[in-house]
Symmetry: C2
Subunit: 280 residues, 2 copies
């Protein structure tokens, strides 16, 4: 297998780009969720750029940044196998040169849910994603639906700043027991991994009730919380049913309504979401 | 004479662009300073896009926004004559669609001088300029040195967000008595217009002393203030000698040091600047 070329600077990257360009932004530690994005991009674009950059701006805590898994050689192989043609792996000094002073932020959407728990996190995301769009100039950029709020924020950013190409949201990849793939799953102990199953179980239980015609949001959330109560060791940060664009809680179930959840299992924070009613 | 085409939306604009693109961002009310930017762009690019958009985000006061001169038909003629090929004149709804929530800001550089007097002003500028860069994707973008701090902020923004093309700073155009051209000059009464001459006179007096070998910043500023004192009706907001990149006050005159000034003449605020020692 040919490995993808590794570009360390924007100018190297631009030189190697040819034809339609797909962008898959990652922080490395690639799993099957990322690989699905890469395969989709490779099917739709002549060039697929996978960026690997552990973005210090989006971490709230220095330890969390330190602890983030870095597996570059393995990532390079996996991404190449999935169809990546260029890995863009800039240094911190390349993306944030001396004197860097610019911030891109999205109001409203970023204030709830993950934004409330992780102050500054989304500003770090929107700043680096803006740079990736302006550097790579993709025809299509692929983001997982697993980070549902992040995807909504990026869609808003993309529209507001007239960034190039289109944003493609890609459905979440799940383990056999339903757990959404995440780089954080590797931090779970065996016991915690068993407990974590309650997260998708809760969402699927809510969708089942929605499928049977329940539209009362209070009743759906009560059903979800009843499931969660089966694992008292799992601490719930939030469980909500929201509008897919504004992320505001809905009063009653509507087209596209999404169940969102965040929990802590031991030291690890997990998030997930599931569409409870089809968009169309 | 053929008039430039008027694009109201980014997609119209993109359709008409051909070859190298120069961008001249304006808020209309074009004067010879703008026309110099347009002529320079027309000499260097196949397509010259002049944007005309009175950007509500960069006004602190609603009255100031209301009062801003709007002279579209005349601007269209003047810009066309100077070599503009496309006028980009979007509506407010086009640039800031329903739900618009994104802000681009530059820290540090924007906090002093004009930023201190006009809170939020530079954030409005950097947000709209980012959009103009992503919409127009210029090879070269032209800004007047008259707004010296704005130019420094835009250079920082352009580097930090990897915006396309290069930023070209263009020397200030002055009236016969030295007054820098500005859309605001039209607000001056005849008497105020005479008083306003003290602004360039101050800067040129400082440069003359610098040319004669004075490098002591305190002495240069004292000389400037002595000139300003000849017109007590002119209220001084600031007079300073700064580094051309950081805009921090310098301790002694160095290569590239710039004198900057802001005054109020009646109701009108005027700014100006002059390089006191050559960069090279």
């Amino acid at each position: 297998m040919n490995l993808a070329r590794v570009a360390r600077t924007p100018s190297e990257l631009r030189e190697w780009i040819d034809g339609d360009v797909g962008l898959v932004p990652t922080m490395g530690a690639l799993h099957d969720g990322h690989l699905k994005l890469i395969r989709l991009s490779a099917a739709e674009n002549a060039t697929t750029v996978v960026s690997i950059f552990v973005n210090p701006l989006q971490f709230n805590q220095a330890e969390d940044l330190e602890a983030y898994p870095r597996t570059f050689d393995r990532d390079l192989e996996l991404a190449s196998e999935a169809g990546a043609t260029i890995i863009f792996a800039p240094s911190e000094e390349t993306l944030y040169p001396r004197g860097f002073a610019t911030t891109v932020s999205v109001a409203g959407l970023t204030e709830r849910w993950e934004g409330a728990v992780r102050p500054g996190h989304f500003t770090g995301v929107t700043t680096v994603v803006t740079k990736l769009f302006t550097i790579v100039r993709p025809n299509r950029a692929y983001f997982g639906e697993k980070d549902f709020q992040q995807l909504a924020v990026i869609r808003r950013l993309h529209t507001d700043l007239d960034l190039p190409g289109v944003v493609v949201g890609v459905p979440t990849v799940r383990e056999h027991d339903g757990l959404a793939l995440s780089s954080r799953n590797s931090r779970l102990s065996k016991k915690e991994r068993r407990l974590a199953k309650i997260v998708p179980t809760t969402l699927f239980a809510m969708r089942e009730r929605a499928d049977r015609g329940q539209t009362d949001v209070g009743a759906l959330l009560a059903a979800g919380h009843a499931v969660l109560a089966q694992e008292p060791a799992v601490a719930v940060d939030y469980l909500a049913i929201v509008d897919p664009i504004t992320l505001e809680p809905v009063e009653s179930l509507a087209r596209g309504s999404v169940g969102i959840i965040a929990v802590r299992v031991g030291e690890t924070r997990l998030i997930d979401n599931l569409r409870l009613r089809q968009l169309l």
